[in-house]
Point group: C2
Chain length 344, copies 2
């Protein structure tokens, strides 16, 4: 067996050695990380900052499919999903804890690959891995991550602050991760029916990347600070834009109007939607897993970011009586609805 | 079907309603909990305190067996396990986040029962549930909890501070949870071979309770503050006393001597060990899941707690050259070894 496919059984290493092996690859970077892994708990210090905490759990077969998700990408994505929630509070992520449960189907090398992605994400987001738990599972892989971030109290942005006439903004583009998933699922079916077929993914590299290795928009938080803009409300786009718009509107007790022709969509997403005979607007509104930031700003702040290449204004805030509306390309006004995704 | 056994499918409620149902039962109690569940992340404020964070994951079939663990007890235990790690830092627990994954085998009422135990623990430990994630699993129940606590920087106690001639202390009693597990496993086998048999647990109520619904020793942390004692090192007893003594010795670069006849054991544990033909000392040293606190104090502090009914002195600290020793009842000195538990 070649070195490339070396397989070491986790049992042969033991739990403590496995944890040591993981830990030695992680170094603390943040001043707020006083003690990391190795004691009963991590110790953090934020002086006069407020702390934000968010936690998510991902299960094999429910949230990810290892037949097309490479382990380093999966590790990266698991961190992104949580860091995105910290960014959605207008806060700076600083630490994560990672709990994983793995069956003996996985080798030590597989665990290494997963943590390689986690480490890569820690570098990109400048966060420290400060704790966690590694245990056996009867089958499959479970990843549960808690992310911690900091912000001055005055900067923290909740979902409930949108006011009438505020402008609705979204970062990046929408629907790509969902369309990437369609491509991956199709190629998986092709492969299952004929294992000699190799997946054709070159033409879909952007949307596949958006599905497998999404990036949290922490850079936008730093840019908003520099532009001296505090959003009036903010949420990250995990369940689909429409669902998140409705969340902001409900929390802020207002209505929202979104323009179909303002929804940012990448060219590759557009072409793939055509190929799959899907409506690109439906994909952009309900696709989910975009991990973009959706936020509202006061009109006075509009000038400061109207030329920002990666922030798009897609509508405006009305009062709650007016409800939530989608203005179509043809000018028709329809009720904005979320299809959402049912986990249960 | 009677009201008592009402079963509501989670699917009929949906994810958002299920989360709402859970959340409305939890109220924030701590000044440091600024924003709890309901936004992208929780917001906390600790002023000039340091923060400690610990995280654990528990899986059905690996860490617990629902054939004898009632769901409220399991919820309580999952919180205790994490809060115990915070106490082991000599810190006060303040918040938890709870991620659960459940299959459609579980009803809404089952989720309610689990959170009833979590809520009960939050009351007992005065911690706030401030976030988490609820998702589907393909099968089985997964609970992943992150606990957060606070302490003045000067109070935080690590594993690495034990010094020569310090006194080794342990709270409560040892081995009970392990023996409780033996009883539960035996009764399960009896039940499986004859479902008409009802389990006989009355005689084992203490040790069964210690297995199913252990309590973290947060009260000891408050008492140590009042006695003006700062332990020189501390750890909680999760894998068995011997294993934890070795952890403290290794981290503190010292040796430790433990006296067999000083190990605190409850009468019910003693009798049950006899009944099972087990060595009670082995159970006390290696049983695990005690969730007691093991710590070292300076000799000067001994007078302050020598009459404490729930803290027992079990040995003393030597130098690293002397190794770790167990002095048996007959006066023989043996090497102290940890049998430990292999998860993998």
């Amino acid at each position: 067996m070649s070195e490339e496919f070396k397989r070491t059984e986790i049992e042969s290493l033991g739990e403590f050695k496995l944890i040591e092996r993981i830990n030695e690859k992680f170094k603390l970077k943040n001043k707020s990380s006083i003690i990391g892994i190795g004691d009963d708990a991590a110790v953090l210090n934020f002086d006069d900052k407020q702390i934000v905490v968010s936690s998510d759990i991902l299960l094999e077969g429910v949230h990810f499919d290892l037949s097309y998700a490479p382990l380093p990408h999966l590790g990266y994505k698991a961190v992104s999903v949580n860091v995105s929630d910290i960014a959605a509070m207008n806060a700076i992520p600083t630490q994560i804890t990672v709990n994983i449960s793995i069956s003996n189907r996985f080798s030590v090398e597989a665990v290494d690959a997963l943590y390689e992605g986690i480490n890569h994400a820690c570098e990109d987001y400048n966060v420290d891995l400060v704790g966690g738990d590694t245990t056996a599972s009867k089958e499959g892989l479970v990843i549960s991550i808690t992310a911690i971030g900091k912000a001055d109290a005055k900067d923290i942005t909740l979902r409930n602050g949108a006011g009438k006439n505020d402008i609705i903004c979204v970062t990046g583009d929408l629907g790509a991760a969902y369309l990437g998933l369609q491509v991956l699922e199709r190629e998986k079916q092709v492969f299952l029916s004929n294992p000699e077929m190799q997946p054709e993914l070159d033409r879909y590299s952007y949307i596949v990347q958006r599905q497998l290795k999404p990036e949290a928009k922490t850079n936008i938080i730093h840019e908003l600070r520099e532009l001296n803009i505090k959003p009036t409300s903010m949420i990250d786009v995990s369940d689909g834009l429409a669902s998140e718009v409705l969340h902001l509107a409900k929390s802020s007790n207002c209505g929202m109007v979104v323009y179909e022709d303002k929804l940012p969509v990448d060219d590759e997403s557009f072409k793939t939607a055509e190929e799959f005979n899907m409506n690109i607007v439906t994909c952009a509104l309900n696709g989910g897993e975009d991990y973009e930031l959706l936020f509202t700003i006061q009109q006075d702040d509009f000038e400061k970011l109207k030329n920002h290449s990666n922030i798009h204004t897609i509508g405006y805030v009305t009062d709650s009586k007016s409800g939530n509306k989608l203005v179509t390309r043809s000018g028709t006004v329809a009720e904005l609805k979320a299809q959402g995704w049912k986990h249960f």
